[in-house]
Symmetry: C2
Subunit: 239 residues, 2 copies
């Protein structure tokens, strides 16, 4: 690798993260091949002009992300692409409407199928939880903070009803990202007026799940998310 490529780290915020990003880029963009050995910590520290502690923390972060593996007494190596352990979504990316739409589309894919799965797999407890959340939602007079939280809770409850940990994890993760972004955008004024529509859609989903009708649950969820995207002025490529 070319050591001269990266240096001149500005001294303001969180050195290790920036250095980790720097080295990480070298790896994902292939300039450090899979399995190749990284320079020694000592050399990296010297190259970046920081202390070894900082380099160590950076490498620890990369190891945590699954991009490098370290072997004591030997060195640090870029891991085979196969074993990358994580998925990350940068909140900053979501300020771009196009990225936001893309993530919303992914959410649709997941939640539509989750609804179908929930229809088949839910237990009585799951249904009770769904009803609780719905009640809470209807109770929230206005579409304020609580309304948004309740909405998130509903989708989380549907995910839970799938009895599939991966759906729970993935949907929870994505829905939260999306809700946070919406929240940050403060489109509340618009949302207030359409709260009833949203509740009705939620009820439709709940009923389909309760009836154990997978295909109706699927389309109800699709309608809901399609509607939601419209209200957010998103144009999904496949409705």
């Amino acid at each position: 690798m070319a050591l001269t490529d990266f240096n001149q780290i500005r001294r303001n915020a969180h050195l290790p993260a920036r250095i980790a990003a720097e080295i990480g880029r070298e790896i994902v963009e292939g300039r450090i091949a899979s399995g190749e050995k990284l320079p020694t910590e000592h050399l990296l520290a010297q190259t970046f002009g920081v202390s070894r502690s900082v380099v160590r923390e950076a490498i620890a972060q990369l190891r945590n992300e699954g991009l490098v593996e370290t072997r004591q007494g030997v060195g640090a190596f870029a891991t085979e692409k196969d074993r990358r352990q994580m998925i990350r979504v940068e909140p900053a990316d979501l300020t771009d409407p196009e990225n936001f739409r893309d993530l919303f589309q992914l959410r649709l894919a997941l939640e539509v199928e989750a609804a179908a799965l929930a229809a088949v797999s839910h237990t009585p407890d799951d249904l009770k939880r769904l009803d609780e959340v719905l009640a809470q939602m209807t109770g929230a007079a206005k579409w304020t903070e609580e309304g948004i939280v309740a909405d998130l809770a509903f989708h989380r409850a549907v995910a839970a009803a799938t009895r599939n940990d991966y759906f729970i994890q993935f949907i929870g993760f994505i829905a939260e990202r999306i809700q946070l972004t919406i929240n940050a955008a403060r489109a509340k004024a618009v949302l207030e007026e359409i709260v009833e529509v949203t509740i009705a859609e939620h009820v439709a989903i709940r009923d389909a799940i309760a009836a154990r009708d997978a295909s109706r649950a699927r389309s109800a969820m699709r309608d809901h998310l399609d509607g939601a995207s419209g209200r957010l002025n998103l144009e999904l490529t496949v409705p």
Copy 2:
């Protein structure tokens, strides 16, 4: 929090990871509430009987996983549950058939919709890439290592044709996990005989995408993954 709860770290492998796990457990299990301040690094080091470097690395890891946030000059705080930043899938979990089935079901949700999206969004280049992979697949006489790689490449190509980075990232991640697990299970003998079926299904998907027929692409992919799951003796809850 109760400092007396954790100490006595055995001295064999990767202290920071073990301490991070220890503190992390305190957080996810709620013994350290959201937003609550952690003890100071100095105190933690003293409590665990290790040096501050180790504690720092542990905290760095937790920060990386999104479980804590640090503010210079103030302290480290357990983050609100909302902002957990990552998704991780432990390969070890997938040896459990039930977990494997659950992940496969998630994959189905993603890939079915990806096929539909690809039908709408693909460019000529994407289609060319699909055909290349298919050719390569047909060329591989037997369902050997190359066949599996080619299969993975096909699904990756479909994901790429969505022109949606999140689909690409998520599907790539999941499909790889699944393929690795299959590979580890060495069910090759069984697979050899059904290679033609698989190729036919792939061609069906390709044709639907090429025809820009979203709904046909959706059902073709659903059929394919449904078939694949059957060949793996998985019983998906919602076919």
